[in-house]
């Protein structure tokens, strides 16, 4: 039984010009499909903003409450590595954006190159992060795992932070450095998790890009992944400013 005559106002079937294989049946046009996917990715990124937002809220509260502890604790982070990582991610955002351009202009080899560079830069970021984390582990600055207050009650005993001439913290304020590192690991860890997922997807994309999947007019996947990648970069931009650059003067 077809629709009742009550829906007399239906349109005649629109003649669909070439029906690309990737057009899903519930969409009327590839434009609508691409538009929809793009909007969906933006909404997903908004949920990610709120997800990280909880962590940023916690950070801002405790930085305000325990500023001296946060300053001294942040000196344990190597500004060199942090800056390098920021530069690495900015480069990777650049290569990703160029990759999207290659997809849009149907440059298959260019796209593969850009995606591969983004992939490598992502791994470099994780590598540097790994170096930083292992330094923290060595110095017992991981909350909950034999956390050591040594560097904070007696900064002179720690050669890594000699340049900052930190004054020793009182014991209770020194204890609050553990909160700094909790948030450091939670925030950078969550960020790194997102990087790992992104790198995984990049690997898949490189494989597909080589087969020409994204350079024949259907750029949605690359474009939307690009949005995700840039978002992860933006999170790092703020993490860098908040975690590494609290106060390095003196």
């Amino acid at each position: 039984m077809s629709d009742s005559p009550a829906i007399a106002h239906v349109a005649e079937d629109a003649v669909l010009d070439e029906h690309p294989s990737y057009l899903r049946h519930h969409f009327n046009s590839t434009e609508q499909q691409a538009d929809t996917a793009n909007f969906a990715m933006w909404l997903f990124l908004v949920t990610e903003v709120m997800f990280f937002g909880g962590l940023f809220t916690a950070y801002l509260i405790y930085r305000n409450w325990y500023y001296p502890a946060f300053v001294v604790a942040s000196h344990q982070l190597n500004v060199g590595w942090g800056t390098a990582n920021t530069a690495v991610l900015i480069c990777s955002s650049f290569t990703m954006a160029m990759g999207v351009w290659c997809a849009e202009t149907r440059r298959r080899k260019g796209l593969v190159l850009c995606l591969t560079l983004t992939f490598i830069l992502g791994l470099v970021f994780l590598g540097i992060k790994g170096i930083e984390y292992s330094e923290k582990i060595e110095k017992h600055h991981v909350p909950g795992f034999h956390y050591s207050l040594q560097s904070f009650v007696d900064p002179a005993s720690d050669p890594d932070i000699a340049q900052y001439h930190d004054k020793p913290l009182a014991l209770d304020m020194a204890r609050h450095t553990e909160l700094y590192f909790s948030l450091y690991f939670a925030m950078t860890g969550m960020h790194a998790l997102h990087m790992i997922i992104g790198i995984g997807i990049l690997g898949f994309m490189i494989f597909r890009a080589r087969a020409g999947a994204y350079t024949s007019g259907h750029v949605t996947f690359v474009e939307n992944f690009g949005l995700y990648w840039h978002f992860v970069d933006i999170i790092w931009i703020y993490l860098f400013a908040l975690l590494y650059l609290i106060s390095r003067h003196q």
Binding site: M1, S2, D3, S4, P5, A6, I7, A8, H9, V10, A11, E12, D13, A14, R24, H25, H26, N28, Q32, D35, T36, F39, A40, L43, F44, V46, T47, E48, M50, F51, F52, G53, G54, L55, T57, A58, I61, Y62, W65, Y66, P143, G144, F145, D172, R175, H176, E178, L179, S182, L183, F185, A186, M190
Partner: protein
């Protein structure tokens, strides 16, 4: 109640259409791997009904314990687990997905003239995430449960209990993503998949309500997710974010938790309000009064709903300034809800009202939600809240809005759209009786609890002073009646699948695109793309269509 607008086809010749979304494909895999929003809606309907009865059984245990002043049916620790699991199951596994995941999934595409939701695979993923979350909750229950209350207040949940906080947290985390993806899907669909002519202000108010609820789902739920992550880290590693001995603030958890959980109550109620708009209009044969006001009030509830969360924390140690600000904003958020009630009442005025079952549930909603909502205003005033919070007044308040309001709206919607989803009518007299039983049972169960709260009986207590017993006995008696009222629909709706009258396209003579197609609908919803050329709730347009139908079928 002799007047009825029900219009069924001739039962001697009517048949369920051979080709429909149920008959299209057979076999378990065709259901488990479906992309069809209607099938996913049915999958959800079955699963949430299952969890509703689990939650209901837990409620039964609570009421049984509270028959006597002593904690004699179960140990107090066990009682803590029972009310916690009742809350977790009812909120996360029933109320949040109830209307959106079943009726919303089924009808939003049809109402806007689309063939499916924008992201069918994500829709299916939502259901699987829900099922995984639900199974995890069941496993948690079987392996000892959790006893912190559904609110997981710190530092109790992080430092002082050794129950299954982590697995419940994980279950809620997973179910939360189910909700996020459903909301995301709805927002994208409503923006991008409307048929030609279907402007924003021609959409049914049901769609507006879901749009507003979806905004809440998408923006609020991730904060719950991060709250649970931090809770887990605090509980396992002891990172210190909620631990005063390490300089943390337990209240931070509550800020993050309630930042979601307050909008969550609007996630729960808005879709129900959408149902009420549709039902009230249909059974008074009148367009909803003040369409624009109702549409915008849905969005206003969504927006304002984000600014009031700390009214759950008035006595927890927030600053007095925060109490002032949040109390003021809470007063404001009541206004859009009131606007809706007024508009529904004005819709009824001079309408041709009939009393079919969906309408009975809607009347129940309007009365009970109003009471529940007003008591919410009492609680929003910080002065009274100090005395009433954490008493049975709160329990009564949220059960009035959630059970008297939302659950009645859900039942109203299920009954309203049952003929469309299944092609069958349910037995009207029995369903009206069930609605009446539910209403009576509800009032007996929860009205005494307002009095108990004002008298000072605390919530979440297994034992209480003996002078409160009589009211508790009333409440438990009512709960028994309520249970009967909820069992009946399961029985007769299931019965109707085989023996119910054939419904035809439009048994209620409703407007709305979903009523202009066959029952049950085709998988692709429409044979040709519809063009919307009339306003919502246009009963004159419907009358013209019916004339044409009579003329052309001959």
């Amino acid at each position: 109640m002799s007047a009825t607008i029900v219009s069924l086809p001739d039962q001697s010749t009517a048949r369920i259409p051979k080709m429909n979304y149920l008959s299209k494909e057979n076999g378990l895999l065709s259901w488990l791997l479906t992309g069809d929003h209607k099938r996913i809606a049915i999958l959800y309907l079955i699963s949430i009904t299952f969890f509703f009865f689990i939650g209901g059984a837990l409620a039964g245990l609570i009421r049984l314990e509270l028959l006597t002043p002593q904690s004699d049916l179960m140990a107090t620790d066990t009682y803590n687990k029972v009310f916690t699991m009742h809350g977790v199951v009812m909120i996360f596994l029933f109320l949040v997905p109830s209307v959106p995941a079943t009726l919303g999934n089924f009808f939003i595409p049809m109402m806007i003239g689309a063939k499916d939701l924008a992201l069918p695979k994500v829709n299916l993923l939502s259901w699987y995430l829900y099922v995984v979350g639900g199974i995890l909750v069941l496993v948690t229950m079987i392996t000892g449960g959790v006893d912190t209350g559904w609110t997981f207040t710190t530092p109790l949940s992080t430092h002082y209990v050794n129950t299954n906080v982590l697995s419940t947290g994980l279950a809620v985390f997973i179910a939360g993503f189910s909700s996020i993806f459903t909301g995301l899907n709805f927002i994208v669909t409503i923006h991008k998949m409307r048929a030609p002519g279907m402007t924003w202000f021609r959409m049914p108010l049901f769609v507006w309500a879901h749009y507003a609820a979806s905004i809440l789902m998408v923006l609020g739920t991730p904060v719950l997710a991060i709250a649970i992550v931090l809770l887990a880290l605090e509980r396992t590693i002891g990172i210190g974010v909620f631990d005063p001995t390490k300089g943390g603030d337990p209240l931070l958890f509550q800020h993050l938790f309630w930042f979601y959980s307050h909008p969550a109550v609007y996630i729960m109620i808005l879709p129900g309000m959408g149902v009420i708009s549709e039902v009230i209009s249909t059974f008074s044969r009148k367009r909803v009064f003040g369409y624009t006001a109702v549409a915008f009030s849905s969005v206003a509830i969504a927006v304002f709903g984000f600014f009031v969360w700390a009214h759950h924390m008035f006595i927890m140690g927030v600053s007095n300034y925060a109490v002032l600000v949040f109390s003021l904003l809470t007063m404001l958020v009541a206004v859009p809800s009131a606007i809706k009630i007024f508009n529904w009442v004005f819709t009824l005025y001079k309408g041709s009202i009939t009393f079919e079952t969906p309408m009975l549930y809607s009347f129940g909603f309007m009365g009970l939600f109003t009471i529940g909502g007003l008591t919410g205003v009492f609680l929003g005033a910080s002065g009274t809240d100090i005395h009433l919070t954490e008493t049975y007044f709160i329990v009564a308040h949220f059960h009035f809005v959630m059970v008297g309001g939302m659950l009645m709206a859900f039942l109203s919607g299920i009954h309203f759209w049952w003929p469309k989803m299944t092609g069958r009518m349910y037995p009207e007299k029995l369903s009206q009786l069930a609605a009446l039983i539910t209403f009576i049972g509800f009032n007996f169960t929860f009205f005494p609890q307002f009095i108990l709260g004002v008298l000072g009986m605390p919530r979440r207590y297994a034992s209480y002073p003996p002078e409160f017993q009589i009211l508790n006995v009333f409440s438990t008696a009512g709960a028994t009646i309520l249970g009967v009222g909820y069992m009946l629909p399961v029985l007769y709706l299931t019965w109707s699948l085989k023996y119910g009258a054939i419904a035809g396209n439009n048994p209620w003579q409703a407007t709305g695109l979903e009523w202009q197609t066959q029952s049950p609908p085709l998988t692709e919803n429409f044979t040709k793309m519809p063009i919307m050329d009339h306003e919502a709730y246009d009963y004159e347009w419907l009358a013209k269509q019916q004339e044409k139908e009579v003329a052309s079928v001959g």
